[in-house]
Symmetry: C2
Subunit: 205 residues, 2 copies
DNA sequence: TGACAATGTTACCGATCGGTACGTATACAT
DNA sequence: ATGTATACGTACCGATCGGTAACATTGTCA
């Protein structure tokens, strides 16, 4: 009720977005809290408090907390593939360089102070049940990542493309976890170098 | 520390400080539930119910749920190094074979139906706060693992031992996570093969 | 047997969990 | 103005969270 700042003369001309303003704010806050603290660690009360809204607003835009978590991960999925495709686009037709570019960036990100790993991976750890909405999004993302890594390994001319693709996936997941386990100076900073060594050892002679 | 399992029916000569029977049962049940479902997902009520005891029994043996979780991880730590040292002892003086033996077993375990990854790693994901009792145990375990892997890499004669040791750690953590993310047929089954390729590529020529 | 300590039990605490019934404020078309 | 639809807020729900006070039972010694 202390919303006395109606200095604005008429209606806001810029905010023409049809989806409820509250939903966007809620998702934005939830994304931040879920990633940094974990999904189970954050209650809906804290989300709505920090978003400056109330609970019914949350439940009008999202059917449940679990679905809100799934929405957070769907957004995370989009941003993940943006980053991935950015590395791919930077080196057309050169999958080895594409991997190197992607992993160099991953390695750098893991060295940042507030790094908390991969939101997808973390969610899967928090929710082992296969049917959980958040986990379904997470599993789909990882399946697709595996598919693409194997395809890139094949394009590199690996002797055993599936094994190399899976090896790269193991290194990536290891970097995500190690990045949040060890802080600065952790093993994750060497992920690009190790991946390149593994690739070199996996190509057809 | 009186590690003899005496069969004497008389007084317990070895077990000088008899840990309460209830405490053992509680820890056993907690270990199972924490590992399979996650620590945050399990309440103390469920633990005591399944253990056939009541809550005060739990809180007389453990100061808090967080400390119970830490105790679970301390036990996990012991069993982990048992498995690790078993692989080491199987191939004296041959660190490359030791790693191969350990990772072959890890790869096999990840293919079991109820595999839920590494309890240490999972706990660290669940509790990002550095000061949490469970996370402290987890971090110590991982630091030690890193130290030993780097030492083994050096013993193998790696060109860059620290990088290889860290690469092996990334593969291992990746296997833990991938094992629970993808079920059967996941990337984790190739961890030993990929590790061997990486080792081969990292030795001094 | 009696004394004592360890262990187990009943019943309860305040706080927080995810979720909802229901009334209110605002915008726009008629 | 008035109807109508939509967005938002107040107040509350039962269940469960981790944790505890007070009491009953048990086993082990002298």
């Amino acid at each position: 009720m202390s919303r006395m700042k109606s200095i604005e003369p008429t209606i806001n001309a810029d905010d023409v977005a049809p989806p409820p303003r509250a939903a966007q704010k809620i998702l934005s806050v939830a994304r931040d809290l879920f990633y940094r603290q974990g999904i189970r660690a954050i209650g809906v009360d804290e989300i709505v408090k920090r978003a400056g809204v109330t609970k019914p607003s949350l439940y009008r835009s999202f059917p449940s907390k679990d679905e809100l978590a799934a929405s957070y991960l769907r957004q995370y999925d989009l941003e993940f593939w943006d980053r991935f495709d950015e590395a791919v686009a930077a080196h057309p037709g050169d999958p080895r360089a594409q991997i190197a570019a992607f992993l160099t960036r991953v390695g750098k990100r893991t060295q940042k102070a507030d790094y908390r790993g991969c939101g997808m991976t973390n969610a899967a750890v928090e929710y082992p049940e296969r049917s959980h909405p958040a986990r379904i999004v997470s599993e789909a993302n990882k399946q697709e990542l595996r598919r693409r890594l194997r395809a890139m390994a094949a394009a590199m001319g690996a002797a055993d493309a599936d094994t190399l693709g899976d090896g790269l996936l193991l290194l990536i997941e290891g970097a995500y976890i190690s990045g949040q386990l060890f802080g600065l100076g952790g093993p994750a900073q060497s992920v690009a170098r190790n991946a390149d060594l593994l690739i070199g050892a996996s190509l057809k002679k």
